[in-house]
């Protein structure tokens, strides 16, 4: 029996779905105790690839070799039994059940058919202790934070004696501190001989953790590189297949007068004493760590939720916004964070999605005017360069980046002064990202005031005139374009948890 130096090998993996080739002869090699990053644009095939490894999909061509032996998984359970565990971005947890149950679901400790709760609770607590968790095994899963739930997922993988752990965008929803904790856990897993594959859009994750990185593009295998030898430019070129010289096309614009101002804005439990203003043509960044309250502030401005205190001023006049309809009438538009559930009606065609906010304006006394709708939709869809054939293409058939463009087009259909964009490039591939930045620049040139909520430092630094930093519901800093750096933004984003010399006196 040959002893392979690799714990996992995939050769020539091809996977075809009706009408689409998701993977085309992909290769992959993983050593024991190795942290291996998997990167590529959205739609490159990373998720499908992971699903083949975890047994969710069966490859149409190619072979998978585990510990030198060929394996053929019939389903996720086979992969689990073979020691492969996956931790996904959207935590797949049972909120009503306890931590113990979430860890042991599917492989409970049983004696003569009876579940042994005491033993399971004890073992679960052991795992939690080793992960330095600050909660107990009998706590209800739904009461935990995202980071804590992720820890439970790791405990679950450990309880199944996983030798290969796959993490899908593990730091996407974590604060800096929590990410640090996760890095440490991942490194100690590696030191114990576990191999780890992770997918991430964040270069920092890769540089910090991985020793090797494999890149996929358009379902093809591009190559595997040593992390220590690769640069950002090499990475991007491999992922995108072309040079992206001007990542952040921010135009120089003369700023106009103040359009929107919020004063002493509060919502119990979410944010307090938020003050800022935006001017015509300005791109204001609203940054901070996940959980800082940025989306909540925007949703409250837009009327999705009610404020408990504070005032909103539009062009100097105080306004009261109770719902999104009023907000839009006043000229405030919102690009939601979750484009699939909040931004689009996936079942509908692009055209109808775009015109939805303005069907009344286009109508004759409530009679739908299809002709006007189509004209408007066509103009806007082309303006944002949507990759689609007709206006009747279903929104669900578009890629993430194009869906985002449609949501932007939707925004443009209304008569707006202020546009709030919440994570406009989240989950969007590098190519479409650039397109969206161009659109933002154009909008700013046309005089819109733009508020951009973003968790991506480079994007914030690249596109914004001014940056507001929030931390745990409060504004902790305001930086101008020239003076902002990754370091001082981070410092303000973590103001409370770290620097004792800068204690805020109430």
């Amino acid at each position: 029996m040959s002893v392979s130096e690799y714990v996992l090998e995939l050769n020539g993996i091809t996977k075809i779905f009706p009408g689409v080739k998701a993977l085309d002869k992909v290769h992959f090699q993983l050593k024991p105790g190795e942290i291996h990053a998997l990167m590529g644009e959205n739609g490159a095939g990373k998720s499908t690839f992971i699903k083949v490894i975890t047994g969710v999909h069966k490859a149409d061509e190619g072979e998978m070799i585990l510990d030198g032996k060929k394996v053929d998984f019939r389903g996720p359970r086979d992969a689990q039994a073979a020691g492969i565990a996956a931790i996904y971005q959207h935590v797949t947890a049972y909120p009503h059940l306890s931590v113990t149950e979430n860890i042991f679901m599917g492989h409970e400790k049983v004696k003569f058919g009876k579940i042994l709760w005491k033993e399971m609770n004890a073992e679960a607590n052991e795992y939690l202790k080793n992960l330095h968790a600050d909660f107990s095994a009998t706590d209800e899963m739904g009461a935990l934070s995202v980071a804590q739930q992720q820890m439970v997922e790791i405990a679950k993988a450990l309880s199944m004696e996983a030798r290969i752990i796959i993490m899908d965008e593990p730091t996407a929803a974590l604060t800096q501190t929590e990410s640090e904790q996760l890095y440490k856990i991942t490194e100690s897993l590696r030191d114990n001989g576990t191999s780890i594959i992770f997918i991430s859009h964040r270069f920092e994750d890769m540089y910090r953790l991985a020793s090797k990185v494999t890149i996929l593009r358009d379902s093809h295998y591009i190559g595997t590189y040593n992390v220590s030898e690769i640069t950002n430019e090499d990475l991007i070129r491999a992922m995108v297949g072309r040079e992206i010289s001007d990542l952040y096309p921010k135009p120089e614009i003369e700023l106009g007068e103040e359009v929107l101002r919020i004063e002493n804005f509060c919502r119990t439990g979410y944010f307090k004493n938020i003050n800022f203003a935006v001017r015509k043509g300005e791109i204001l960044g609203l940054t901070g760590l996940v959980g800082a309250g940025r989306t909540e502030v925007c949703e409250t401005i837009f009327g999705i939720e009610k404020k408990t205190e504070g005032k909103v001023f539009l062009s100097g006049k105080e306004v009261n916004i109770h719902n999104p309809t009023e907000a839009m009438k006043l000229g405030i538009g919102y690009l939601p964070e979750d484009r699939q559930h909040q931004g689009l009606i996936l079942d509908w065609g692009i055209g109808r999605n775009i015109t939805l906010p303005v069907i009344d304006a286009l109508s004759n006394h409530s009679w739908l005017n299809e002709k006007k709708e189509l004209e408007l939709a066509k103009r806007l869809a082309e303006q944002v360069d949507t990759k689609a054939v007709t206006l009747f293409d279903k929104a669900s058939s578009l890629s993430g980046g194009n869906q985002q463009k449609v949501v932007v087009a939707k925004l443009l259909s209304a008569d707006l002064k202020v546009i709030i964009m919440d994570e406009p490039t989240k989950g969007v591939d590098v190519g479409a990202k650039a397109a969206i930045y161009v659109i933002m620049g154009e909008l700013a040139k046309q005089g819109y005031a733009i508020i951009m909520v973003s968790s991506e430092m480079p994007e914030t630094l690249g596109m914004c005139d001014r940056i507001i930093v929030m931390c745990e519901g409060k504004v902790t800093g305001e930086l101008m374009r020239g003076e902002a750096t990754q370091e001082n933004i981070l410092e303000k984003a973590m103001a409370k948890s770290h620097h004792t010399t800068e204690i805020e006196v109430r």
Binding site: I304, P324, T325, L346, S366, L368, A381, A388, A434
Partner: protein
Amino acid sequence: MAQTKRIIAAEKVFSWKKFFLQWEWFLILVFILVNVMNMIISRYYLSASGLLTATSSFLEKAFIALPMVFVLIIGDIDISVGSTVALSSVIMAESYNKLGIPMGVCIVICLLVGTLCGFINGFILTKFTELFPMIVTLGTMILYRGIAVMILEDQASKNFPDWFSNIFWGKIGSVPYMLIVFIVFAAVFGIVLHKTTFGRRMYAIGSNRTASKYAGIEVQKIRLLVYTLTGLFAAVTAIFLTSRMGSTRPNIGEGYELEAISMVVLGGVSTAGGKGRFVGAVIAIFIIGFLRYGLGLINTKSEAMLIIIGSLLIVAVMFPNLKLGSLIRRKTKSHK
């Protein structure tokens, strides 16, 4: 990156295949079959009077199906309509018989009671959005009929003025008033659903409630309106039904929610919301109505009818999920 602007087509490509693989053609086929069956059963069926008699046998129930289309399109459900029919009818009857209120006013009272019942449903659901329509309308289903029982106990209420029975039995020439009223309402509902901004908003709510909210649609207001409308039309049914029977009891209208939902669902409207066309519901109303009539002609026991309608409902909903059905269904445009 692309340097030339991409052109997006704004014309819809017409395909004969897509056109004919629509659910409504299937319904027309079934409709023809039902009529053929009825023709075989009775020679008098395929005459003007025969068809009109057949129509009158079920049409009063159909009034509930009209707003029920809206309810299902916005992704909700209402199983309290049968009870609303009973309550509004009972209150109307007792207002006349026990309180001596003139019958005309009693009819208005009936409509008000129905509207109120629907409004209560809508109010609870829109103020407590955490609640599911199924459980709330289950509760009101029990409550409304319970109140009807409290009022009439196990008695009947009859002795209405002679002209009252004209509402159901009256005709212009040989066309019943009821049919004319139905056609008018059906036309209005259909136009509202497919040609107005209100209808488009309902489809949006049914497809994705959250996205509708973010697009500025007043979701809760529309839901409240739809539920209130449902209650109103349950009262309309109550009026026609009571006029037909000449009397009322607390147990009338039992099973009407099943029939109304069956008619709408068979018509191609999905219980998930956002899908279906009005014309399909109308055809389905007549399919079920004529089917019942035909079965009645051959003296099918009411118990057997229960089985048939129950099975019809299940098959109608299941069919799109099975292979053949989904082939036909997939070609149905999601709206219009």
